[in-house]
Symmetry: C2
Subunit: 572 residues, 2 copies
């Protein structure tokens, strides 16, 4: 395919349009990883002018297809030192597609802080001075006041401005909240290093693609949407949101509890999907147990958490946050967790990374497991740029170094998500082998109907999951679709065929996923990262109670993890 | 030459002797860098089991030659991420040579903490439990009590045990003080990561080499020593020690003052060579204004600083410490600086790195320039493993990240020594181009009779200085010899010829230096480090008062710095 790229040179404040040929019909993570590997030398320091930020939508964005408009953000990560992609829902993926860009490359470094406005035939560089230091919510409010609600926003908070390594990139949701985060890998800090506080994209004003009216696409969409609507798992997601996962992982004995010391949290029932659902139902007000994060979404796993008085605390509150800032800190108070989630969205920080960092701080005696106020104090310190706040914002590994704690749940410099590798072994393998580091989105296996405690079959499971997730990421598709469409690659490929007059076969998805991972692996190898990582020592030494689970995947099996990665396939 | 290597596998607690062929007659930094580049893959993480520590003496050690017995310690550095060598005086270089080893390789990681005893036909692995947490002075005292004063010790302090990145490797001096530090690059932390608390080498008991009685060597030594004795610069060193440099650098306007904010310290006269000399003279007691750091040394730039009651505060107190912990902190109290030097020796930390880190902390408001107690509090926190103490012990760059201060005087992750690059431009070039990072020992130009403020001729000066210093490091020679022997390479080569029946020509030194640097450069390139670094932003932006000196070396000149590095030459 030919991709249309908008290249924005921040140093010179100029921009140009480019067309590049790609061997795959894809966007999203394929495009971010392809462009980073082509344009950013592997040894580039993450905050140097030579690093770039790539924003890319998938090829199905902007067409009214459910859950197909995620925005990928790619760069070299300050946390992992390798290539990173993180994606988010919200409206920016659609907005980018409707502007006609497959990707935007931000390169160089602006001499002063700017806000970019990407319009159909123009890029504006506006002074950002008055927004500096403001949280994402206030910044979004001001920008929407000034420019109108019709703009989609891509923002960094005060944490990104300060280049805190746990900073993410926030995208506004259909209601204008800057709470959809491309959270992992510290990409917000890279955006901060470029002195870009935010990006505006016209959203509502732009007319939908003509392709939407094609008969073949209407048909393909119908079949695709039908699959989603009939999925039982998706019905559960629409009721309880991702919080529903907490019960499952707790039952498995793999819920990070008190800095990954236990796999079950005795107060899990106070923060699980049902508890959250009930809280929303009881309090009502602004609360919603189901909501879309993208304009077209039939999954609707998002939610709005209301305070006792009915006002909104945060939207959404998701499983990873409940895991890392709840069980992992011994905290069972949904109000606290929701409020912290709001603070971190506002600051522009990854709740996984900060949650893990707070666990490390409790390990070091700077906070107390189970005492919410001891953590809240540190979170509020991030606003004041206090030392402990900064450490939390730098992430778990940095915290461990600063505090001298080796009990740090991180791999490749990045905090482990809310699935203890000892209890969900396939996901553990993903953490150790994915070019993304300890990032569940790269290959979460917990929903597969297998015994997650045994080592048998986990390698194949993680391998397949990583490939298919990479393909979904490369198509801008939400991975929650997988429970509905995972067994029907033809329905996904049909969408591409209908949009672009292609004749792709279902195995295209595997080819695409393999290609994405091979690009990323090659980059990381050139950057000096090992192909396979090791678990933190403590996870190798301590069995995980209550099921006394040990990490028992033999190193030989890990070493040859990627040997069957086949890359190739025809050009679309 | 054939080098005799003792390989100690810490994981398996075994050892073996190896002989390797080298293309150069050298040891020291040549051997450490050669072995690291051959045995430690460039992308190895500094604290992984795959990293190694190499200890090497020069080929002239153990022969009673003045200032020729420095011990080189080599490894991959946690601070720079590249290859590092740091060397120290003391008795270990002679001890190693007399045991017949050119180098010791420490590889793997001991399952529990050990003390190694290297004897003539044996390596002992002793439990180190009872020494853990003890400072270098107490450890040395206990080990000397137990084993006798005749043992040379190579130790890490509590900082190295905790893997603080500013940790050095301490070597005992002829009086048994563990105060000769292979300080830079965090090599003590690597030794800590291997769980080696200390190494004992028999020293006094071993009879001197037979070569010492050779007529040709006696003659060559005589000529060499004669050069030293007649050098005016060395007479000054013997009177004032390295502290004498402070006056010179202050006059030049290049003395780091208050975190490199000024180049002159208004209270420099209270901490310069004369002030120190007078303090020692007045107080007498244990004080000595001149002392040897190695058994054979005619330079005797070391000293013993007495307290008002005549008891010893520290030995020695040197220029870099006076610069970084004095002027750089706005502190003019010799007693405080001497006491801090003792503490850092005891903890096993580099005074340059910690001094720079304390300056960064003052920059961030955690201490106050000119108020000694505000710094002493932080230094004492290192003993208690308090957070601020840990940050100081992690060095200037880590401190800057933790505190959010970008005014950090560091290059390649390592603190700049006590010569502001804006005021001593040749040394600035060394910082930016040396594989060792910001380390004056790699190529200090301040004693050259040139205008250090102009850019003219600095490139050639730094280049030549780096080459000759690399050669001296590779021969185990103290670089302070250079003022006496720098113009007489024949006298150095004569020593080698007399010892080893060779016919090396004087230009051998240049060949050797070039070879050392080219090995290190190739390693760093493979590890992903740039060949040429950049100054910290603030040094590019702020002119240095009082002489309003800017960094004006054009990037083009830097980019081609090493283009004339010629490597080759005949085998000895």
């Amino acid at each position: 395919m030919k991709a249309k790229i908008l290249r924005v040179n921040l140093t010179k404040k100029c921009w140009q349009e480019e067309k590049i040929s790609l061997s795959k019909m894809a966007g999203g993570r394929y495009l971010t990883s392809y462009l980073i590997s082509r344009e950013v030398p592997p040894h580039t320091r993450p905050f140097s002018e030579q690093n770039k930020i790539i924003l890319a939508c998938g090829p199905l964005a902007g067409q009214g297809i459910s859950s197909a408009s995620r925005l990928s953000v790619g760069s070299k990560s300050p946390l992992t030192g390798g290539i990173k992609e993180a994606n988010a829902g919200g409206t920016a993926g659609d907005a980018l597609a409707r502007l006609g860009w497959n990707a935007v490359i931000l390169e160089g470094r602006s001499p002063e802080w700017v806000i970019l406005v990407l319009e159909e035939q123009e890029v504006k560089f506006l002074p950002a001075e008055r927004y500096l230091g403001l949280g994402n919510y206030k910044t979004a409010e001001l920008l929407h006041q000034e420019w109108g609600k019709d703009y989609s926003l891509i923002l960094i908070g005060p944490a990104g401005e300060k280049k805190l390594w746990a900073s993410g990139v926030a995208v506004t949701d259909p209601c204008g909240r800057p709470s959809r985060m491309a959270a992992r890998g510290g990409l917000g800090a890279v955006m901060g290093s470029k002195r870009v506080k935010g990006i505006l994209l016209p959203y509502g004003q732009v007319s939908p693609s003509l392709r939407e009216k094609r008969w073949s696409l209407i048909e393909a969409k119908k079949e695709f949407h039908h699959l989603i609507l009939k999925s039982e798992r998706i019905k559960i997601l629409a009721k309880y949101g991702t919080a529903e996962t907490l019960g499952l992982v707790n039952t498995l004995g793999a819920l990070p509890t008190r800095n990954f010391r236990q796999g079950q949290f005795e107060l899990a029932h106070l923060i699980n999907g049902e508890a959250l659902f009930n809280l929303i139902k009881e309090r009502q007000g602004a609360g919603k147990h189901t909501e879309k994060c993208m304009a077209a979404c039939l999954i609707r796993c998002s939610n709005v958490v209301p305070a006792p008085d009915g006002t909104e605390i945060v939207a959404p509150l998701e499983y990873e946050t409940l895991g890392l800032m709840g069980a992992n800190l011994g905290v069972s108070d949904l109000d606290s967790i929701a409020r912290w989630n709001y603070y971190l969205n506002d600051l522009g920080l990854d709740t996984i990374e900060v949650g893990a960092a707070l666990g490390v701080m409790a390990e070091a005696g700077l906070a107390t497991f189970g005492q919410p106020l001891s953590f809240e104090k540190i979170i509020l310190e991030i606003y004041k740029d206090g030392l402990l706040g900064r450490l939390a914002g730098m992430g778990a590994s940095f915290c461990g170094l600063a505090l001298g704690t080796e009990r740090v749940p991180a791999i490749k410099g990045q905090a482990i998500s809310a699935y203890d590798p000892r209890g969900v072994k396939g996901t553990g393998l993903t953490y150790l082998t994915s070019p993304m580091g300890a990032d569940h989105t790269a290959g979460l296996t917990v929903f597969a109907p297998v015994d997650h405690h045994t080592k048998e079959g986990q390698k194949e499971l993680s391998f397949r999951t990583q490939i298919i997730r990479a393909a979904y990421d490369a198509l801008g598709l939400c991975v929650f679709l997988l429970s509905a469409t995972g067994q029907h690659p033809d329905k996904v490929v049909n969408l591409l065929n209908a949009c672009y007059d292609l004749e792709l076969k279902p195995h295209y998805l595997e080819e695409l996923g393999a290609e994405v991972i091979s690009i990323e692996k090659a980059y990381n190898t050139a950057a000096g990262l090992p192909e396979v990582e090791e678990l933190p020592e403590f996870m190798k030494e301590e069995p995980l109670d209550p099921y006394h689970l040990s990490w028992d995947i033999p190193p030989e099996e890990l070493a040859c993890f990627w040997e069957n990665l086949k890359v190739g396939g025809r050009k679309p």
